[in-house]
């Protein structure tokens, strides 16, 4: 009986070791899987955004064509007239 008992205990230790190794393997695999998904994505995780500058930035630096000139009251008879052509 004592001999069988030792064998049973050894089998128990072996099962526990296998379970621990399996769990550790699963844990390592899981961590590696999540890490790979996070840091080395094979595809986009969210909505794609344009590579260009944000529209607010473009608006801020946009050089408008319609910019006002400088005028003042006339001081002498005009040599020229503006009109539609």
């Amino acid at each position: 009986m004592a001999k069988e008992s030792r064998i049973e205990r050894a089998r128990g230790r072996a099962r526990a070791a296998k379970t621990a190794i399996g769990a550790l393997g699963l844990l390592v695999f899981g961590v590696a899987f999540v890490g790979a998904k996070t840091h080395a994505p094979g595809h986009t995780k969210g909505q794609a955004t344009p590579l260009g500058a944000p529209s607010s930035f473009e608006r801020a630096v946009h050089n408008s064509i319609a910019k006002g000139g400088q005028i003042a009251p006339a001081v002498q008879p005009p040599p020229i007239v503006t009109s539609t052509s």
């Binding site: 000139g69 005028i71 003042a72 009251p73 006339a74 001081v75 503006t82 009109s83």
Partner: protein
Amino acid sequence: MGCEVIVAGGDPAGVAEVLERWEQAFSLFRPESELSRVNRSPARVLAVSPLFAHTLRVALDTAADTGGLVDPTLGRGVGEVLLSGRMLSRPPGLAFDLNGVVKALAVDDAAETLDGPGFVSVGGDLAVRGPVDVGLPGGGAVRVVEGGLATSGTATRGPHLVDPVTGRPSDSPWQQVTASGVSCLAADVAAKAGFLLGERGPEWLDERGVPGRFLGRDGEVVENEAWAGSVREAATCT
């Protein structure tokens, strides 16, 4: 360009040469002009000259700036036009009308030839070098200190300005709109947009700090705040 050219302070022959170069490239009445050839071409993608590319870029920027009011495709698909360097891509059959910017660009280009103070006026749109007094539609005058002055409307050629929203000649309450800009191009674009916007024209120009003067169909003159303020401030300073 089919309109009166007046030059002061420069060589008229030099100015004429510059204007002829623009006419050769962009006249819709010359079958051999680059614009006519581009409009005739059935190709979707084609290479254009640097001058054509620059002018079309300005026209596309103008369309964006004015919310499509001054549109080189007259509302037929400016969003489908792609320009990369000298390579132009547009839907086959889409013709351009660059009249919205060509004359003003030509005036600004011609004014670069002036030796000193003076001005170049083409059909009443002008660019100045140094202060110039200019008569206004409906009477009165203003001193253009710097930049350009342009007038758009229906007084001479009738309702020729097309509203891109409707695709029909504009039904603006204004007879003529005069605007002052940092260049003849800026002034011309502002005047056209102010005219096409109708009642909202004065406010739209004010939002951009552009002086505008609006001559109504009944002869009433409306000055936006930027115009009135410029004249008033200058009068106070002198």
